[in-house]
C-alpha cells in the first residue's frame, strides 16, 4: 500500500503555515499591483508583471 503523501497534505496538516503563506501571497499580489499601477492604469501589462503574476498563481494553487 502506498504511503506517499498527497502534495496538498502539508496544507491540511499545517494550517498555521498555510494561513501564513496565503497572507504572504496576498501581500505580494497587492504589492505587485501597486508597483505596476501606472502602466496597468494605462491598459498596458509589462512582461515583469505577467511573470510575477504567474509565479503567484502557481504558489496560490498549491495553497488554495
Amino acid at each position: 500500500m502506498s504511503t506517499v503523501p498527497d502534495q496538498r497534505e502539508p496544507t491540511r496538516d499545517s494550517p498555521k503555515s498555510a494561513a501564513s503563506e496565503m497572507e504572504v501571497v496576498a501581500e505580494q499580489l497587492i504589492a505587485l499591483v501597486e508597483e505596476f499601477e501606472a502602466a496597468l492604469s494605462e491598459g498596458h501589462v509589462p512582461p515583469a508583471f505577467s511573470e510575477r503574476l504567474a509565479q503567484l498563481r502557481q504558489t496560490a494553487e498549491r495553497l488554495i
Partner: protein
Amino acid sequence: MPFAAALRESLQERGSQVPAEFTRGDSLEGVLNRHLTTVEEMGGDDVFTCILLLSPDGKRLSVGAAPTIPASYCRVGDSFEIGLTHGSCAAAAYLGRPVYSVDIETDPIWADFGDVALQHGYRSCWSTPIRDSSGGIIGTFAILHRTVGMPTHEEIEAIELITGHVAEAIMWSRRPQFFAPPDRHEPGVPNLKLVSNNQEACDPASRLAVLVGRLHSKAGTLDRYADCAESEADAQLLRQAAELSRKLSANILLQIELVSSGKPAR
C-alpha cells in the same frame, strides 16, 4: 462601452458605497434594492429582478429585495420551501445551480407557482444561487421577463457579476467586522497610522480582515484596468489577477472564521 463593462463599473460603484450604507444603519433590503435598481436601469424595460434569502436551516426562501415586482406577487412567495415545483429560485436553491426557465407556462418547475407568475405577466425566469465565501448557498438572484427566452452568454456573465456583488453585500450585512474599508491609499502618500492599527497587529482576525478589504479593493481596480486594456491578452491577464485576488480573499475569510471560532490561524 459594452454592457458587461458598464454594468461592472456601475456595480463596483455601488459596492464601494455598501460599507457606508450599512454603517449609517441602512437595512439589507434597502442596500439590495439599490443594487437591483442599478441592474434594472441598465437592463431595459423587460428586466424585473429579485433576491430571495435562504433560511438558516437551508429549507425555505423568503423575499430579500424586489424593487419593481408587485407586492401582490411577492406576498405569494413570501416564504416557501425549496424544491422542484415552486419556481426557478426554489429549484436553483434546491439543485445548487442556475435554473433558467425559458417558458414559465410549460416548465414543470413552475407547477405550483406558474399561474401566479403568468397572472402578473411574467413568462421566463432565470435564477442563480447566491453563495457565501465558503461556497454555501445563502439565497438566489432572479431575473424575470415578460417574454420567453434563454439568457445569452453575455447575460450569463452579467448574472454572475451581479450575483457576486449581491453575495458581498449580504455577507457584509452579516459579518461587517470581516470587511475593511476600500483601499483609498494614494501612491506616494504615507499611510496614516490609526489607533486601530495596533489592534490589527495584535488581533489576527482584525489583521486578516484588513487584508481581505485590500484584496477586494485591488480586485475591483484590476477589473477596471482590464476593461481598458490595450489587448485582449492583457485584459485576460488582469482578470486572472482580479480572480486570484478574490480567491485569496475568500480563503482568508475562511481563515478568519477559524480564528473567530477559537482556532488560531497562526
